[in-house]
Every structure is written in structure tokens, then in C-alpha cells.
Point group: C2
Chain length 321, copies 2
């Protein structure tokens, strides 16, 4: 900036004014400055600007895994909202590792992101306390923060969605329904199991429940075990997109039970799989908009919108037992 100033024969501050589009610069002077900028290939050093102004125009996004279509859709929506506010996105995947989550969040904070959007992997977020007190707003998405952290959250109606799918299967004549969910320590998995169990009432049978990460081997083993029972399940409700896909693979080629899944997935329509669909893009959008409201000064109490989920019948959930 100093070089540009001397090249244009003006003071440094005038260059600053031109670069920032501030008013009060004579058009001719401004043109001279712009010419010098082009000639020298100057571009403003954003780090210095941030240091001085305190705002980075960057938000941090921590998700579980960008390669998962659910989180990819969510990311895209967050990015769009951020772009509309002239903000960039610093993002990272926690791989469901609480330590990595913490590291990413704290690194983002050290870089002075203006705000955070977090899909938490861990259960303890006391490490965020100083940052929140320092005024960095955070929105938790898909899963709530640990106890004692009172921030905005955007969650889906997990229990309600699971109950919806379960009642749908019962209405189609099923009374033996299996549930394949992710590790019960994961909030969404636990809530969906809860919804399933509540909706099923006395029909609930814990031998028809398996809560494990979605590896093909374990899913196949669980299904084999259940299908070999005296009264095998006539339907399977899978607790997330990954598990649905894995279960379909495990059941491929056999006239198996009816399958209904939580989360929609690519090609579910061609495969005719009935699902309870959430809208990851909407989740990301709502979270980002909430964050930007906080950034523009909204200091009201923490908000906790719950997004609806919808049943999409495609055939697999309407099969009779």
C-alpha cells in the first residue's frame, strides 16, 4: 500500500480509501491510484486488515465427514448463505472424533472466525465456554451440545420421524419390525431408537434391535441373526442413510423383509425405497441464517428450531409382511 501510494504520488491513507471504496476521494486521484494498483499488481493483505478490524469475514464449519452426502448438502447450503453475506468458509471433518472436533473448533477460534457452525462429535463442550464468553457465536446442528452450553441448535424431529416410519409399517400389517441404528452414544441414533420404541409399544422386542456403526459385516451378521429367529422380522427400519444403503447391500438378492430408512439417499427412487426424509440443505441454511442474525447483533435467548421430516412412500415400506 505504501508502494502504491508513492507510485501514485498520494498518501497511504488515500490508497486505503480507494481500495475500500470509501467516499471523499477525487475521481481523478482515485483513477491514478487504481492505475498504480494495476501496474504494481497490488492486492490488499487481508491478514493485516483482519488484525486491525477484528472481523475475519470467515465462519468455521465442523462436520462429521464432507464425503457423506448428508453433510455435503449441509455444507453447500452453509456456504451459499455465507457467500451471500460476503463470508468465506473454513471447514473440517471430525470423523466422529471428539478430540478432533475440539481441535478444529479451537483452531478456528484462534483464527478468529466470526462464528461457528458445529455438528458435534463429543459430549463435552466446556472447552467452548471461553470462546462463547468472548463473544464468538456458535450454532450446533443435527446434535445438541453437551450440558451447560446454552447455544442455538438446529435439530431434526428424530423421534417423530422414527415414529412416523414405524407407524407406517405397523399400518401396513407389520408387527415384527427390526431397528438398525448407529452407536447409541450418537444423539440422533438414540432419539430415533426412542421414537421407534415408543411407536411400537408392546410390539417392541429388543432382539430385533442392533445399534452399531454401519459396517457391511456387522449389518449382515445382525440381519442374519434376526432373520433366523423363531419369529423373524418382516420389516427393517434403518436409522440413517449409510445404514439403509448397507442393509440394502446385505439383503441384495434375497426376498427379504420390507426396508424403510431414515434419511433420503441418491437413487432411492429408482430402488423404490420408502424413507423418512430430512432436508440437509435446509438444516444448513437455517443454521447459517441463525448465525448471521447473531452476528448482526441479535442477543435474544438461544433458539432451538426443530425441522420436520417427511415420509416418502416408494414401495418398499408398503409391502405386506
Amino acid at each position: 500500500m505504501k508502494d502504491v501510494a508513492s507510485a501514485a504520488g498520494v498518501a497511504l491513507k488515500t490508497v486505503s480509501r480507494v481500495v475500500n471504496g470509501e467516499p471523499g476521494v477525487h475521481p481523478a486521484t482515485a483513477d491514478r491510484v487504481r492505475a498504480a494498483i494495476d501496474r504494481l499488481g497490488y492486492s490488499r493483505n487481508e491478514s493485516a486488515r483482519v488484525l486491525r478490524r477484528g472481523r475475519t469475514a470467515t465462519i468455521g464449519l465442523v462436520i462429521e465427514d464432507v464425503a457423506d452426502p448428508f453433510y455435503a448438502g449441509l455444507s453447500r447450503a452453509v456456504e451459499s448463505v455465507a457467500a451471500a453475506h460476503g463470508c468465506l468458509l473454513l471447514s473440517g471433518s471430525s470423523s466422529e472424533d471428539p478430540e478432533r472436533e475440539r481441535e478444529l473448533v479451537l483452531t478456528f477460534c484462534a483464527r478468529r472466525v466470526d462464528g461457528l457452525i458445529v455438528v458435534p462429535a463429543g459430549e463435552d463442550h466446556s472447552y467452548l465456554r471461553p470462546e462463547l464468553d468472548a463473544g464468538t457465536p456458535a450454532v450446533f446442528v443435527d446434535r445438541p451440545p453437551g450440558p451447560g452450553i446454552d447455544v442455538d441448535t438446529v435439530l431434526a424431529d428424530n423421534a417423530g420421524g422414527a415414529a412416523l416410519a414405524t407407524r407406517h409399517l405397523v399400518a401396513h400389517g407389520h408387527s415384527r419390525i427390526a431397528f438398525l441404528g448407529d452407536e447409541p452414544s450418537i444423539f440422533t441414533a438414540a432419539r430415533r431408537l426412542h421414537g421407534f420404541r415408543t411407536a411400537l409399544g408392546h410390539l417392541y422386542d429388543e432382539r430385533l434391535v442392533c445399534m452399531r456403526s454401519p459396517a457391511l459385516d456387522t449389518v449382515r451378521a445382525a440381519l442374519d441373526r434376526m432373520l433366523a429367529l423363531d419369529r423373524p422380522p418382516t420389516a427393517v427400519f434403518t436409522g440413517n442413510g449409510r445404514l439403509t444403503v448397507t442393509a440394502l447391500r446385505a439383503l441384495a438378492g434375497r426376498r427379504g423383509p420390507a426396508v424403510v430408512g431414515f434419511d433420503d439417499f441418491e437413487l432411492s427412487d429408482l430402488l423404490g425405497v420408502t424413507v423418512v426424509a430430512q432436508d440437509p440443505a435446509r438444516m444448513g441454511r437455517v443454521a447459517a441464517e441463525l448465525l448471521f442474525r447473531r452476528l448482526s447483533g441479535d442477543t435474544g435467548p438461544a433458539e432451538h428450531p426443530v425441522l420436520p421430516v417427511g415420509l416418502v412412500p416408494r414401495g418398499s415400506g408398503e409391502l405386506p409382511p
Copy 2:
């Protein structure tokens, strides 16, 4: 840092030494400093550090769309390599818009990212010249830069893969093969068409070619038109993952032509679709590793690795005409 220094009764520089793990601080002093840091909830201001040191420990990634599984997988791989080098990732989607690509790249540069990984949308990258000259390394992925920009590239064997698929269909008795590709202005689309055309030789018939973005309507219309010809195609080769999925939807329910696609996709195995698969994660990894080699001082001539693609027979491409 000043506050921590006075709280610990040391000079600012000593705090700096402790924070950065520099040697030459008495253990007892260091402990006192660390105690003060915890008490005050201090965390280093990364912007100031960057301003002083010149390196941001951040790389910029511009892709077409994070919500596309291909780019999501690529992003994840880039992120892993970056994390292994202690680097964060600033990322953005260009939505196939050259102007947005330029804006993202230049914004990243203004933030002084250490390096860039770009899936270009545009054909003119002269705007990058000053940045490259200033020493910011860039790696182009999936598509090459416009003329006059001599940077590292990581491309797939697009023409070879297309030829492989085409010969596979010919070997299975097909002589009327259609090609559905993306806009011919997109590098990969053009190269794949070239491979298809070359492999087909005198069997090539331009009435069986349609180069358009993958919207369901246009794909359906193109297929309808081709299938109504005197000598309709007995096989369709689709030029990317999106087009494959769209074509499968358009053909759903009819005993249509054999379908082979470029790019693998989720559930291709269950649907039994033969594809020519690239490995997006590998592409991201190779690109990121190349970038970090540049960042650690490798100033050799630009490299241009070409990643192989592989035919995965799953049934759809092995159907007789």
C-alpha cells in the same frame, strides 16, 4: 500476550516462547506462564501471527460443487492431506461459473493462502499470473488451466477411459452406441467424447450424440429422439456420474438400451451398472501432495500426472444388443 506476561511476571517475549514451544525457557517460568494462560483463557491471535510470519497454514480449494459426491470425495482427501501438514482448508464452490471461480481464487489469495487447488470452471486464468509470480503455488485438478498458465495439473485419463468403455460395448456386440455428455466446453466432456469417437471409428454417428447439462428433461428428450431413429442405439454411454443417474431415471421401467457410465456412483453395485471408474479421493490426495511438495520448496518443472481409470463390469454393459 501482554496481559499474560504481566500476570506471570515475565516479558512478552517469554510468553511468546512458551506459546510456540521454543527452547530456552526455564521449566518453572514456563509453568508460571502456562498457569497464567489458563487463568486468563488466552489463545494466540493467529491473524497477528500470520501478518508477522507471512504464512497462513491454510490452503484454498475451489471446486465445482461440494454437494456433488465426486467433489465431496476429492475435498475430503485434500482435507486429510492438509490436516497431516497442520494446514486448514478454505473452500468454495464455483457452480461452474468462471466469474465466481475467479472471485474465490482472488479472495483466497488476498487472504494469503499458502497454496491453491483449483477445479477450474473458466478457460482464462490470466488473472492468476500475478499470484503465481508472487510465489503462490497452484495445482489444477480434473481440468487444465487456460493457455499460458504453466502450473501442475492432475487429470484423469478421460479419453482412454471413454475408449475403454466404448470398446467394451463393441466387444459385446454393440454397433449402435449413443453418447450423452456434458456441455462440450467442459474439458472432461470434450475429452471423453473424443475417446468415444476415436474408439468407435466408422461406427460413429453424430445423431447418437448429445452434449448438454444433465437435466432430466433434456436427457429424456434426447434418449426418446435417439430411440425413435431407424436404427436406434442398443447401448448408451453416459459421460459423467450425474448423467448416468439421470439417464437411468429417464430409462426406468423400460427394457432400454445397455447403459455404461463414466464415474462410479453410490449403489451402482446394487443397480448392476457397468462403469468406468475414477478415484476422486486419489485425485485429491495426489493434488494435495503435489502442492505440499511445492510448498516445501520443490521448484522443478510443472508436473502433469494422469490418473488411470478402470472398467468395472456389473452387468449393464455386458447385455447383448
